[in-house]
């Protein structure tokens, strides 16, 4: 066998092995999207009930709360960026980072100092490589976040917003995550989470069409302030949880798509390599035949000459 064919055969074998891996990853990601989507759905009742309760308190009382009051001249804004822990998901993480960077530029242009919080190893790696300061980071749960994870993330961020600006507290909180629109579309978005504005609260729950209903006057137990105190951090936690879940679903969808194109590409490569190998084999055979024919001709000529 010719050396050329051997090289082609070896490459075909290696590409086939790679294809098997990407195919497996594609299927794993596909099954996880469904799971992640189900988790998003399962968390919706809590989120919408909570939104309702927040709206009720905010409209039913005149209580002021640091998490709902706009600072007169905001000097510091916090950005919470959600990226993935693992790569091989196409442009998933870098798109989210790009959105965060754009937001950061916008906020800086508005004269605000930006404090960054990052979820996911990819985002952390991006910023540490550029030696940028991060206020806090969390890694290890990007593909299947639990409510406890959301709590762990939201805690320090809420604290930062509650702290006085003079003591390094933030006036605003923005969250950048990848919204799961459909299996094929995931868009990185930035949302302002805090301070909450009333119309934002009413507009946010997309699924509640009957938002026009008049909310009754509630009795607060123990008091409106205490309820709001307890309610708002939970509300932020649930928004963060929702963002984490959507990001997880998006990550799986992005990975599935990336792996699908990798598999397709491998198939294409195998096809063209097989063609090349066939051509090389045919060339070898042709050469061998012509050598034999040539050799036989030479022998015949030599014999004719000696006679």
């Amino acid at each position: 066998m010719g050396a050329q064919i051997r090289v082609y055969k070896r490459r075909i074998k290696s590409v086939t092995a790679t294809k098997k891996i990407t195919k497996a990853m594609e299927m794993i990601a596909a099954s996880r999207i469904i799971k992640a989507q189900r988790q998003v759905e399962a968390s919706t009742p809590y989120a919408s009930e909570l939104t309702r309760a927040v709206t009720a308190v905010a409209t039913g009382s005149n209580t002021r709360h640091p998490l709902t009051t706009e600072a007169e001249s905001p000097v510091r804004a916090a950005i919470l960026l959600v990226t993935s822990d693992r790569g091989l998901a196409g442009g998933y993480s870098s798109n989210a980072i790009k959105t965060a960077e754009a937001l950061r530029e916008r906020l800086t242009a508005e004269g605000k100092e930006v404090v960054q919080y990052v979820v996911g190893r990819k985002g952390v790696a991006y910023y540490t490589f550029r030696e940028r300061k991060l206020a806090d980071t969390w890694t290890g749960f990007s593909d299947s976040p639990t409510y406890a994870d959301a709590k762990a993330v939201a805690g320090p961020v809420i604290d930062a917003v509650l702290r006085d600006t003079a003591e390094g507290g933030a006036d605003e909180l923005h969250i950048v995550f990848t919204e799961f629109v459909s299996m094929m579309t995931q868009t990185p978005v930035d949302r302002r989470l805090l301070p909450l504005s009333l119309d934002e609260k009413a507009g946010e729950p997309r699924e509640q069409g009957a938002k026009a209903e008049i909310l009754p006057l509630y009795d607060f137990e123990p008091s409106a302030e205490d309820v709001l105190d307890a309610l708002l951090p939970r509300y932020v936690e649930s928004r963060v949880f929702n963002a984490l879940l959507q990001s997880a679903a998006s990550e799986h969808a992005a990975r599935r798509r990336a792996m699908k194109s990798a598999t397709d590409n491998a198939e294409e490569l195998i096809k063209s390599l097989t063609r090349l190998a066939n051509a090389a084999r045919q060339a070898d055979i042709t050469q061998e035949i012509s050598e034999i024919v040539g050799g036989a001709g030479a022998l015949a000529d030599a014999n004719a000459g000696s006679d």
């Binding site: 009742p45 809590y46 009720a56 409510y147 009795d219 123990p222 205490d226 939970r234």
Partner: protein, 125 residues
């Protein structure tokens, strides 16, 4: 219709129980509160504690709830909890182990959680 209220018990990551009830007793930060149909609109902060729901068919649903809110309006009651478990879902052995551990580590909140679980489970079994 006037004699029943619709209850939704939801945890952060799932809906735990929903149905019609005649009475719901839950523990708020200022004490136990019982809600019957026709109650004034209410919004309260819950403590870790057992929640008792008396259903319209005469049954009782017990759940352990850790932190959260109770909100009631228009004969619709929602119990929002970060963690909520129905009594029959609670693994008694595991809760007992958690209680032991919490006691030895003097983790007051974990101890309270384990106790609440056991109380809720005991009410059912």
């Amino acid at each position: 219709m006037a004699a029943e209220l619709h209850v939704e018990l939801v945890a952060a990551d799932r809906s735990v129980w929903s149905g019609e009830a005649t009475l719901v007793v839950a523990r708020t930060t200022s004490g136990d509160i019982g809600v019957m149909p026709g109650h004034q609109p209410l919004l309260g902060v819950l403590e870790s504690g057992p929640v008792t729901i008396r259903t319209t068919d005469g049954g009782t649903v017990l759940a352990a709830v850790h932190g959260g809110f109770i909100s009631f309006a228009d004969d619709k009651l929602s119990l929002l909890a970060e963690i909520a478990e129905l009594a029959e879902e609670i693994d008694v052995a595991r809760a007992e182990r958690a209680l032991e551990r919490a006691k030895s580590e003097t983790d007051a909140s974990a101890e309270r959680r384990a106790e609440v679980r056991l109380v809720a489970a005991a009410g059912k079994h």
